[in-house]
Symmetry: C2
Amino acid sequence: MIIDCHGHYTTAPEPLQLFREAQKEAFKAGKALPEVPHISDDKIRESIEKNQLKLLEARGLDMTIFSPRASAMAHHIGDEAVSKQWTSACNDLIHRVVDLYPQKFIGVCQLPQSVGVPIKNSIEELERCVNELGFVGCNLNPDPSGGHWTSAPLTDPSWYPFYEKMVELDVPAMIHVTGSCNPHFHTTATHYINADTTAFVQFLTSTIFQDFPTLKFVIPHGGGAVPFHWGRYRGLAQDMGLPDLSEKVLKNVFFDTCVYHQAGIDLMLKVLPSENILFGSEIFGAIKGVDPTTGHYFDDVRRYVDQSEHGTPAVRQQIFSSNAQRVYPRLKPFLACRAC
Amino acid sequence: MIIDCHGHYTTAPEPLQLFREAQKEAFKAGKALPEVPHISDDKIRESIEKNQLKLLEARGLDMTIFSPRASAMAHHIGDEAVSKQWTSACNDLIHRVVDLYPQKFIGVCQLPQSVGVPIKNSIEELERCVNELGFVGCNLNPDPSGGHWTSAPLTDPSWYPFYEKMVELDVPAMIHVTGSCNPHFHTTATHYINADTTAFVQFLTSTIFQDFPTLKFVIPHGGGAVPFHWGRYRGLAQDMGLPDLSEKVLKNVFFDTCVYHQAGIDLMLKVLPSENILFGSEIFGAIKGVDPTTGHYFDDVRRYVDQSEHGTPAVRQQIFSSNAQRVYPRLKPFLACRAC
């Protein structure tokens, strides 16, 4: 079985985006927010079957842990009410996809974060998505400002009530920023990657996992720059008198494989413990084209994992399946259901 | 010959730092700035011989392209007058080191950047350092705010007068941020690495090298996350309809080898053209300890290059010597002098 831990509904039907535009207009004009439109099952099927589902099947993947389009979360737009309405609309749509394809998609929610609003205000939506919609995790934005990094770091105690709820519900968070509104940072090429590195170092240099020994995070896009600079981070921990990374962060932090070339995946598999790597390909995601040097899609990550010189069958089994089941304990009933 | 393109005077004698503290105090109190103290040749020799010079010799390196301590540039502190005085003091001290060890150290300057001050105000110090002190390049800070990223991106026309002067003087700039005052970003573990990635993507997605075909930048710390995500950047360029990276950026952008483990250097040498890699080790820099898994210093980068499976003798010669000579044309008289 191959579980892709990182897929986004980047192909959601057009009415969702039209609603978002209307919502932004209403907010700007100080008017009441528009109603969330109904989107038909047929529209949803069409948007999924010719895109994500087609690729899943073509690439021999069994299921995707699926969340709303990350770049559209845009927690810096509007206010808390705008973010709440947009978030529940996006999460409800993910739930519709999961209901239509329960063998193929498992839900992960976005959160109604908003600039200057405490993260504890996102607990209610997390509970709704996990307890009522059957979601197995959430995407947590370490920078609701969209590239200005004006909030408190992830290790600040203000985040702790949310972590308490994550632990109680036994769900992990993927660290995932959204679109950048800082002209320095290209959204998918810079902001995503920088945020991954930023979160890792915050975790490394804090006591967060002493405070929450069972808290779990997935850092996407291969962990940003982290595996490439593994020596720097090992050395930094040692210079700071911290425990080894295996002790300090690797019981709690996991990395997905959204790295779009063979050499990058080879490096990950070489330096990171195989227990800490989760298969993810971010489809439909950042890069859509075919690599002319291989003749395959850049984001066909399964090939890189299959072909890696560091990937024994046991390692591939961990990366493709068993690690995800460990990190997302709430996957269990879905997998049991598939088996029956 | 082995040229290390990335060394900082992190061991400058104590009076320099005491002066800096006094300068900051004076600024805060609204008083006249203190005078720059005289530091004796003996103090300078002591600070160099037991540190950088000792390591150069122990590691069989011939010379270092040497600049002031990057984390102490702190362009966000004080105002333009403070930054100017601090910068000229630091650059003058580099010149003293070069004068004492002309066979071993070549100067690169910091710039008197300051938040909200146009970069063209740094031209005078660049000219002084190149024309009067014999420096061969500069360190350019893409984020004078120290982690808040409030200025214009490097590709904004406001930077162009400075690039015109770089081209005229035929000197490259190393992209190098300074200490972070944003609690999200650890200086050496996060801010340095993120800034490298940020600069690369700015270059990739702009017309800067169409506007300045001979402008050259060195991106340190292995280019941040760039080589690890080489597939993402190749794919992004293709998706955006841009020319291949070799055409779009690799005639103008070079990467140093400040990556502190074998697998990272192996990746660099595998994915980047060997013409684009310059040996650099950032000593004394970010990581000071010995890697217990190898028994050697994390920052003893020469070992990784020597031992890389992708490093033929011809490739090593490029990385250790000929690329630096091409990127820093003003090295020529120093090398001629060494030969006589």
